[in-house]
Amino acid sequence: MVARTGPVRRDGETDREDEISTDDLLSATSDATLAARAADGDTRSFELLARRHGPLMRVVAGRLLASDADADDVVQDAFLTAWHRLADLDDPARLRSWLLRIVSNKSIDRLRSRREHDDVDEARQAATTPAPDDVVEARLQLDAVWRAVDRLPLQQRRCWLLRETAGWSYAEIAEALDLTPSTVRGQLARARRFLLVEMEGWR
């Protein structure tokens, strides 16, 4: 894009060219700038953030909930909350961590409400989660790690994801999953041991 000394546009008109280039510019813009614009009320910038980070959030929710169906609900709710709380975001550059925190909170809320309503038998829920595609050999280490995380027992996986994606403390994880902090430590230790072996084993 050539730097011009200003468009001196009359009467607030814009070129079609400028419309396109603003959108292009937005798609290549940092989280911090998009978050600031979204906090100012720009829904287009917020939508770009949702497109950029939404898929990861949805996957995290899906793994925490052991349900892809619920994941869409939870992630939509999480982004709606994010839209309302953008002004609270102290450091717009840390947007992704902030979103991960919100989506994991919403996921835990959903888990709690399942427990209270006794809606779903958790073991059954975990069993019906579609297994990763084992037919295709994992060519990438990332695929191998994805499958390894998915093979963790549900409780260990939840502890691991809350810790590693959203940075929850042992106390927070314990409270969320109705465990003691030392049990959480134990779960994390087991999960970590398994994943270390898987990671090393691939090499």
């Binding site: 894009m1 730097a3 200003g6 468009p7 546009r9 009467d11 607030g12 814009t14 400028d18 603003t22 510019l25 937005l26 798609s27 290549a28 813009t29 940092s30 989280d31 700038t33 600031a36 614009r37 906090a39 100012d40 009320g41 939508e47 949702a50 497109r51 950029r52 898929p55 990861l56 949805r58 996957v59 793994r63 869409d72 992630v75 939509q76 709606l80 550059a93 990438l140 280490q141 990332l142 695929d143 790690v145 994805w146 093979r151 963790l152 027992p153 409780q155 691991w160 590693e164 994606t165 003691t180 430590r185 134990g186 230790a189 087991r190 970590r192 041991r193 398994f194 994943l195 990671m199």
Partner: protein, 209 residues
Amino acid sequence: MTPPDDASAVPDGPRPSPDDLVDGVPLEELVDYLDRGREPRDPRIEGSPACRLALQALQRVSELTLESLQHEADRDPGRDDRWISGLMGTIAREVVDGRAVPLAAPAPGVGTALTKAAVRGLLRRAGDAVDGVLVTATELVGDVTVPEAPVTVRLAVTVRYGVPLADLADALRVAVTAALARHTELNVVAVDVTIADVVPPAEEPGGAR
């Protein structure tokens, strides 16, 4: 290797095992050390190649977790379109900002106005139209509900490196004043521009974490 026991069988603490020692240092201790950001520096750990290797592995397994989830998320591009549309639809339907910027009544019994959000959108639009500029914050200072009351527009912008700044402020003033003159009856007495950030010509998507 099969995963360890089910959660229901787990005792209260991590099971001690010879596997957990790295050069005599328990793995859990290395985990905590890493969590603390390797501060204060522990010479016993930092002096041991095996420990440093283990710390690297611990770091890596953390990073790989998030990376693998992102990788999985990237695999199916259209997968999220539906809930994203739902989200944006919900946002569009939300509470209208109660504060309106009124216009002079065109006839008795008639009231017309713009919402404050509409005016801010106009300001962003006008500012974005200036080459190399993205508006990051807008503010109207003054009582917008009183006709002729003096109003100052404040803009914060991100500017692409290389765009001459002196001309920029003028260009923004012209654009903003023109847009507000066309769409409102505000008495704009000043346009204050703050350059919040200067960015390199090709800013990376995703930006800082």
